[in-house]
């Protein structure tokens, strides 16, 4: 079988293959003990970082539901300076392509973060986690067309890197938000973030999670995510990174056929750390068997 070209260019972000971790479900430590070489991934992705340190939500932070995982972590983190000093060197060692996910309390913080990170070497792109609540307007940016456009535009003003806007599923019409991000000048869209969800303990008669409500990830949301990728791919002419319950290469191929040019893998890699490696191999094998010579040929075929 001849070699398949797995590389892809996403609006200026060049990847050697289309598979990368989803923000918040992947981390690297000094004593990186993952059972595979992370250099094989298309990119590595940090957890969403804020300007300042955040403790996150009250415990408990996670619970399992049918074919899914509900989390209400509240984006804990040490702040951007810690990331630059302590985490980034480890990520850079792990893969040539490092994407930093950023979050903010309000549009202004995204801009400040993008400005700070633009001066830092070794970052390939920024992903804007737009699902954080906005202290100023008390609204989630990703649920508002105007704020989404504003945030992207402000970030683009100060950043020279490709910008990915990560969209929320918890909206009436995701294509409108996608268009707003495009108007703001975004380079790439990634979707979907977790789906609003909760669980109640019938013994205590109280919500299970400390934050009461959280976000659902895992196989349970895959068909929802796939449909949203399909919708956005048919509306907006921008490269899309598909996210949502991708657990194997078949799932990933579905997203590519729906119009995604790359995929992020989250919950599945918590259960099987080798899954991203298996997905890369699975896509390559599928393309070869189907007689394609490059990944690009199947994007949006469905």
């Amino acid at each position: 079988m001849k070699k398949v070209d797995m590389s892809i260019n996403l609006g200026g972000l060049q990847l050697k293959n289309p598979v990368m971790p989803a923000s918040g479900t992947f981390d690297l430590y000094e004593d990186n003990n993952l059972p595979y070489d992370t250099k094989v991934l298309g990119a590595v992705m940090t957890k969403s970082i804020f300007l300042k340190k955040r403790l996150g939500n009250p415990l408990p932070l996670i619970c399992e539901s049918t074919s899914g995982l509900i989390n209400a972590l509240g984006t804990p983190g040490e702040g951007v300076e810690y990331l630059i000093k302590n985490k980034l060197p480890i990520f850079r060692k792990a893969n040539r392509t490092v994407i930093v996910s950023i979050g903010g309390n309000g549009v202004k913080e995204y801009k400040l973060l993008a400005e700070r990170l633009d001066k830092v070497e070794g970052i390939a792109a920024l992903e804007l986690d737009l699902s954080c609540s906005n202290n100023v307007d008390n609204i989630i940016i990703a649920r508002d067309e105007f704020l989404t456009e504003q945030t992207v535009a402000q970030v683009k003003e100060v950043s020279t890197k490709p910008i990915i806007a990560k969209l929320s599923a918890n909206v009436t019409d995701i294509t409108k938000i996608a268009r707003a991000a495009q108007k703001g000048g975004v380079d790439i869209l990634s979707l979907i973030n977790t789906v609003s969800a909760m669980a109640i303990d019938i013994k205590t008669k109280k919500p299970v999670l400390g934050n009461k409500v959280g976000g659902l990830s895992g196989p349970a949301i895959k068909p929802i995510a796939l449909k949203m990728v399909w919708d956005v791919a048919h509306t907006v002419d921008l490269p899309i990174i598909g996210i949502g319950g991708i657990s194997n290469s078949e799932d990933a191929i579905e997203f590519l056929l729906a119009g995604a040019s790359a995929v992020e893998v989250g919950t599945a890699a918590l259960i099987n750390p080798l899954v991203m490696l298996e997905i890369i191999q699975g896509i390559e094998k599928y393309l070869g068997q189907q007689g394609y010579s490059s990944l690009e040929e199947i994007i949006g075929l469905a």
Binding site: G24, T25, F26, D27, Y29, D31, N33, L34, P35, K47, L55, G56, L59, P60, L61, I62, C63, E64, T66, S67, G68, L69, N71, L73, P76, G218, P219, S247, T267, A269, L270, I271, N272, P273, L274
Partner: protein, 267 residues
């Protein structure tokens, strides 16, 4: 074991016993994992290929048998995952990821250790006891449970411990008091070098108080719901104590623990 690569393997079940209603000991053959395992560490186990249940489940090593290449876990049937596990029999296959977390250590020149645990919190103790015996360390055991049947693996501990104290809430065996009162009695005339506790917030608090009074090393072994077990999901956070410069900080049970210096964490 900092720096050691995680191992993900399929392993065969050697046998399973229901020791009392809903409490099981599962013995698994996995030389790769056992070779690297330290008491107090854990494995993430899956006995299902379908997506519900979805996540692996964390289990500490109840006993390690490095010569046989096998280990045991001790668990209570509480939900979907452990329900499926309860049907496992010899020859069945499970998927393992491990060994994970930081295991226990004995301080230098340790002569005597104590274990203080309640109910299913005895799960990591036999492995610790075996390791201590290997090093010629004396074991003082303090077991607590709601009722005598829930004093799990009591017989095995009795064989290995120099002294064994028992309390049960219903006084079905031993007295109904606090088992740490017996530990305090021991401490009055015996120097204990290290104490390991698991399975009860109350026993953890009392052990911590005794540590302040008598000045021994003490660790608590925590359990928590986990999605990954290797520090990626951040779901198994526990609160760091405000003193010790940990104000407003969470630890991860999987990565920073599950064995913690007793006065570093709040439970």
């Amino acid at each position: 074991m900092k720096g050691a690569k995680l191992i993900q393997v399929y392993a065969k079940v050697l046998n399973q016993t229901e020791i009392i209603t809903n409490h099981f000991i599962l013995k698994i053959f996995s030389p790769e994992i056992v070779k690297k395992a330290i008491p107090g560490q854990f494995v993430m186990l899956s006995a299902w290929k379908q997506k519900d249940p979805l996540l692996r489940r964390p289990f500490t090593f109840n006993r390690l048998f490095p010569e046989e290449g096998s280990f045991e876990i001790l668990y209570k049937k509480v939900g979907k995952g452990t329900e499926i596990m309860s049907y496992l029999k010899a020859g069945d296959q499970v998927s393992l990821l491990g060994p994970l977390g930081n295991g226990i250590k004995f301080p230098q020149n340790t002569k005597k250790i104590a274990i203080v645990c309640r109910g299913i919190g005895v799960a990591p103790m036999l492995a610790i006891i075996d390791k201590a015996k290997e090093k010629g360390i004396d074991i003082y055991a303090y077991l607590s449970a709601a009722t005598k049947d829930l004093l799990l693996v009591k017989k095995e501990i009795k064989q290995k411990a120099k002294l064994l104290y028992i309390t049960t809430d219903d006084a079905s065996l031993g007295t109904s008091g606090k088992v740490t009162d017996f530990l305090e009695k021991t401490l009055k005339d015996t120097k204990i070098d290290a104490v390991y506790t698991c399975g009860s917030k109350r026993l953890k608090r009392h052990t911590e108080r005794l540590k302040e009074l008598y000045g021994f090393n003490a660790w608590v072994i925590l359990e928590e719901h986990m999605a990954c077990g290797f520090g990626a999901c951040k779901g198994c956070a526990c609160k760091a104590k405000k003193d010790n410069n940990h104000k407003g900080k969470y630890f991860l049970v999987c990565k920073d623990g599950p064995v913690f210096p007793i006065d570093e964490v709040e439970v």
